[in-house]
Amino acid sequence: MAPKKPATAATTSASASSSSSGQIDKIALNIVQHYQKTTPQRTKLIDTFMAFLVIVGGLQFAYCVLAGNYPFNAFLSGFSATVGQFVLTASLRIQTTEANKSEFPSVSPERAFADYVVGSLILHFFCINFIN
C-alpha cells in the first residue's frame, strides 16, 4: 500500500487546500479515481460480486424490516449467507492483492482460492442446515 500513496497524492495535491465543505465529494472522487487506476481486472470482478452481495443482503434486510421477520431462521441464514460470503470474498480479495503480499507470506493465490472454496462450502452447509 505504501508505494501507491505518493502517486495519488500527486494527482490530488491541488485539492488539498480547498474548503472543507466541498472536500467530501472530492475525497469520494479521489477514491474512485484511485480505484479505477490501480485495481486489476480480476479484482474488479471480485468487487462486482461483493457489490452484488451487499445489494442482496440489503434487500433481505429491508424485507425483514418492512414485511416482518416471520421465518426468522430463513432470514438469518439468508442474511448471514450473504454477509459470510461477503467477508470470505473480501478475504480472498485481500489475499490476492499484490500489495498485501508481505502480510501473507504463506498464502499463494491458489491457496487463497482453495481456502475460499472450503470456507464457502462450510458456510453454505450451515446455511442450508439452518434454513428449515
Partner: protein, 756 residues
Amino acid sequence: MAAAEGAGSTPVELLVSLGRNQSTKTLLKVIILAIIAAAAVASRLFSVIRFESIIHEFDPWFNFRATKYLVANGFYQFWDWFDDRTWHPLGRVTGGTLYPGLMVTSGAIYHLLRFLTVPVDIRNICVLLAPAFSGLTAYAAYLLTNEMTTSSSAGLLAAAFMGITPGYISRSVAGSYDNEAIAIFLLVFTFFLWIKALKLGSVLWGALCALFYGYMVASWGGYAFITCLVPLHAFVLICMGRFSLRLYVAYTTWYALGTLASMQIPFVGFLPVRTSEHMPALGIFGFLQLVAFLEYVRSAVPSRQFQTFLYVGLGGIFGVGLLGLVGLTAGGYIAPWSGRFYSLWDTGYAKIHIPIIASVSEHQPTAWPAFFFDLNMLIWLFPAGVYMCFQRLEDEHVFIIVYALFGSYFAGVMVRLMLTLTPVVCVAAAIAASQLLDTYLQYKSPEVVDNKEEESSDGTTKKSSKQSSLRSASQPVVGIYNVLSKAFIAGAMTLFLLIFVQHCTWVTSNAYSSPSVVLASRMPDGSQHIIDDYREAYQWLRQNTKEDAKIMSWWDYGYQIGGMADRPTLVDNNTWNNTHIATVGKAMSSREEVAYPIMRQHEVDYVLVVFGGLLGYSGDDINKFLWMVRIAEGIWPDEVKERDFFTPRGEYKVDADASETMKNSLMYKMSYHNYASLFPPGQAQDRVRGARLPDQSPVLNSLEEAYTSENWIIRIYKVKDLDNVGRDHAAAASFERGHKKKKAIKKRGPRVLRVE
C-alpha cells in the same frame, strides 16, 4: 551431522549429540507427549481404583442418562426428545435444552468401538471420557504454547502442567462425566486455532477455528468465554494500532462461520443475535469492516483529506451503531445481560435477586487459598510468564495477556471459572519456567541441549560445570556462567517441580476423587468403610415403587433419582423453572396442612430427604434448608418468611430452641421423624449441627415413613392417600394413635339429667 561429531566419545556426549538431531528431537517430543498424556489419564483414575467405575455427583447422572437415551434411540429421536419423566407435570424439552456435544461425542465413540468389534459398555465410555480428553488437552496446551515461544521446552512443560494441575483435574476425573470434560480441550484448541489463523491470516485456519468453536458451543455454556475473549483480543489489537489484514481475515472468517455454527444448536438458537453477551463479537465484526475500509481509503487519498473523512465517517457510524444498539435493547429486540452475567460483575447481585444461582456452591466467589490449592507453584510463575509476554509482545502475546487478565478476574468471582483460568496459567507458567531453565542451562554453553526434562537437569549441570571450568581461564566467572548458580537454580527448579507433582497427586487423590454418590470413611483400625446409602435408597425406589411414582425432593437430587432410580421427579438440576422449584421449596418449608394440598396437586407419591444427622454428613437438606426457604420466599413473600425460621435471637437451630415455624415445617419433621428413638432418652443428638434434640420426635400426619437407608442419609416418605371417611389427616392419625376425638367430647355438652 551432529551425531557424526559426537560419535566415538563418552556415552553422555553421544546422547547429547543424538538429542541435537532433528528427527531424534521429534521422536523424543512424541514420546514425551505420549508419556504426559498417559500421566494425565493415570492421575485421574484414583476414583475408579478406589471405588469402582461409577458416574459421579449430580449433573453427570443426567448426561449419562441422556447418553443412554441417545445410544438406544438414535440421533434424531434424541434431538426431538421430550422428557415427561422430569419436571412433572410440565416435562422438559430435553433435546432442545441441553448441550449435546458431550453425549454425541461418547455416542460416536461407542459406535466406533462397536464398529471395530470392541464390545464396551456405554458406562465405561462415559466414565473414562474425561481422562481421555485430558490427554488431548495436554497436547492442545503444547500446541498453544508453541505458538508463543520458540523454546520447545515451554510447550512440553505446558503440556505437563496442563496434564496434572488440580485446577483442571477437579472437573475431569474419571466418572466426572460433565460438559467440562471435553469443553476445556475444545477451549484450548479453539484458542490455538485462533492464534494460528491470526498469525497466518488464513481462511482455512479461521474456518477450522469456527468449526471447533461450533463444537465448543455444542458442548458447554462456557462458550461465551470464547465469544467475548476473541473479540476483546481483536479490539485490543486495534486499539494498540496493530490492525492488520491478517486480523481482518481471521476474525471475520471466524465470526461469520462460527456464529452460524453456534446457531445450529437448538439450545443456543437465535441467542447470538438476540442477547447482549454476544453483541461485542458482532460489534467488533462491524468495526473491523469499517477499519478495513478506512485502511483502504487511507491508501487511496492523501492524509489531510483522510482525516476529514475519518472524523465525519467514523463518528457518524459509531454514533448510529451505538444508538441502534441502545434502541434495540430498549425496544426489547436484544435481551439485556442475563442474571448469571450480572452476578459476574457484582458478586452480591445473585444473592439478592436470584437465590437459585447463589444457592449453587460452585457459583460462590473463590477463596484465595483455592488458587494455591488448585495451581500450586504455577500461581507464582504465572505473573512471570505474563511479564515475558510483555517483553515480546507480538499479537499472540497480547492474547495471553488479555486472557490472563480476564481469566483471573472471572476465576476470582466464581469458583467454577477457575477452570477457564487454568489453561492460561499453565501456558504462562511454562513460558516462565522454560525461560528460566533455558537461561541457566543453555546460556553460552550450546553443547548442552537436552533440558527438556527436569530429571535430566542433574546430568546437564555436571556437563556444563566441566564446560565452564574450561572456560574460566578466558572468561570472568560471573552470574550464570557460574557453576554454583546454575546448579542452584537447576536444583531449586527440580525441587519445585517435584513438589508440584507431589502436591497435584495429593490434591487429586484427597480432594477431587470422591464420587460423592459413594462416600468413604475410615474405620477405627484404619480400614476403609464404604457408605453406600444413596445407591441403596435409589435401588429401593427402583424395586419397590410403581414405574411412574412421582418423587419429590430438593432439586439437587433430581438427576440422581432420574438416573439411578429411574422415577419421575418434580424438579432437577436443570433449574429451568424457578417457580416450580419454589413450589417444592414451599412444600418443604410449610406446615403439613399447607404442604399436603401442594403435594396432592403435583401427584407426589414419595418424598425424599437427605439427612446427615446420624453420620455427621454435612451436605444434607437441613443445611440447604435456608435456600429452599429463600427461593420459596422469592415467589410467596407473604406465606414463607426466612425470619420465622430463626430463633428470636437470630440463630438457626434445630434443637428444642428451634422456632415454631421450623419445628412445624415438613422438612424438619421428615428429617427428625423417629430420630430420637434411636438413642436412649435424653441422648438424641444431631452430629452435623452438634445439637441435642428433644426426646419427642416430630409427629407426621399426612406422610408415612417408607424407607430409611442404613445410615439414615436418605429417608423416603410415602404421601398418604385421602382418608376413607373424609377426616383430615391430623384427626385420622390421632385416631390411629388411640386418642379420643376431642371434638366429640366437646359436642356432647354438659350432661343433663334425663327426665321423662
